[in-house]
Symmetry: C3
Subunit: 190 residues, 3 copies
């Protein structure tokens, strides 16, 4: 059968070399399009229950070896605030600051908040089951190398100064979020 | 060493050819399973703050070269309504229409709405920071080629007639959403 | 031209064999990183409208041949509860149980609930359009092989006993959710 083949072995080898080069470049292209071991969360909510959930997912994913990004936007910005300042704010920005939590300590719950009783109750229930507090969760996330980003646009719209944001938290825009999210195995909007 | 090999060079080439053919088909299969440069958003919420966030993500992703699909369902349907009509609606559908925004212009905010004061305030705050209005965002999204879909099932359940939906918005079901979402790098439920 | 090549055909074949072996292992590695035909939903919300939406997506995806996981956490836990028991609950857990739906039958809607009128209205509107009820959706999901998981941590924090959870629903933690989610084409937080 071999004898019946008209092309020489040299020619066949040439062809194989070409095919392998093509395969190598196609595979490199495919590898570049694979998701990384990465999880990206956009935390829009500023409700204690939802925010806690985001930290359980974030620290869990980091413990499983994923690179995790948490992008805090709009109401979620309160989570990475250390205090509220009232200078250099427009009237609506001041109203917003007065009605929003000054820091993670005063986040409400999304249901049954009853002027903070619900939030206090939830914190107690979590502590009783030895679940970390929100503040400990945030510290743990940072220890585990979770990237914490405060949304630049939300900060500007709400008139939150950079000095109101926790130290060591970077500011970034939607392009920063997307750059991580597009390479992630799992992205969630919380 | 070469001399010690029992198989002929022709046989070795045959084997290589087979292996390469197998690799090519495996790679083609893998390529077919890679995510596209695609972002798919399901907008369930009809709250101005969440909807604005979805448009920031959608237009940002489109500007970064992703193909973007926005699927508006349930309360989100208000975003792609141009008006409310009250003919041919059942009693609960009429109630729903009366209590829901007639178009994107009257979306509430998810917190601190205070009968629309919160929404008006947020619109002012966005404008002051030169953020596009929701209506401009929608126009920009369409210019950037974002695919805008109104959920067929929500439309029927809520009794929203096709004539109440903005021109140029297609209607589709969950299969339409999933077809895009399953091929996306990032899918979010907002 | 062929004559000008210094290396023997045997050497060239050796080289090709090495390259193919390298390609095979790289491709196997890439294949292991591809997403499965899989959709994973975390249902945090206990609102009828959002939960219905999650079932439409879940059953739609299952019908399209995806392996689907629904992970019910926090308020979403009510969906997979068959009843409320009040023994062995702390005071806040009892309060929470009193104020939360005892089962899927009494889920509120996220807006315009008006002490249950909104939920009843929505159920009627869905039935009129021949959309399955929530309970039928859940049964359908299970028939289609959707994996239903109750969040272990939420169960413990809220003091919900295993005997309050529907039969045949497994309990699992965030690692269980992530194991499925990281291999999914689409993951949503609802």
């Amino acid at each position: 059968m071999q004898a019946a083949v008209a092309v020489s072995e040299g020619t066949r080898i040439n062809l194989l070399e070409e095919k392998i080069a093509a395969l190598e470049s196609r595979l490199a292209e495919a590898e570049g399009r694979l998701p990384d071991d990465r999880v990206t969360l956009m935390i829009f909510s500023g409700d204690l229950d939802r925010v806690m959930s985001s930290f359980v997912i974030a620290t869990g994913a980091a413990a499983m070896g994923q690179q995790v990004t948490m992008f805090f936007t709009f109401w979620g910005l309160s989570v990475v605030k250390k205090s509220s300042e009232f200078r250099d704010k427009s009237f609506p920005q001041t109203m917003m600051a007065l009605l929003s939590p000054a820091s993670s300590k005063s986040l409400p719950v999304s249901k049954m908040n009853y002027f903070g009783i619900g939030a206090a109750m939830l914190r107690k229930m979590l502590a009783k089951q030895n679940v970390f507090s929100l503040e400990d969760m945030l510290a743990l996330a940072r220890e585990l190398g979770v990237r914490i980003i405060a949304c630049e646009m939300s900060r500007e719209v709400l008139g939150v100064h950079e000095s109101e944001i926790m130290d060591g938290v970077e500011c970034g825009g939607v392009a920063t979020f997307l750059a991580d999210s597009l390479r992630s195995r799992t992205s969630l909007f919380i």
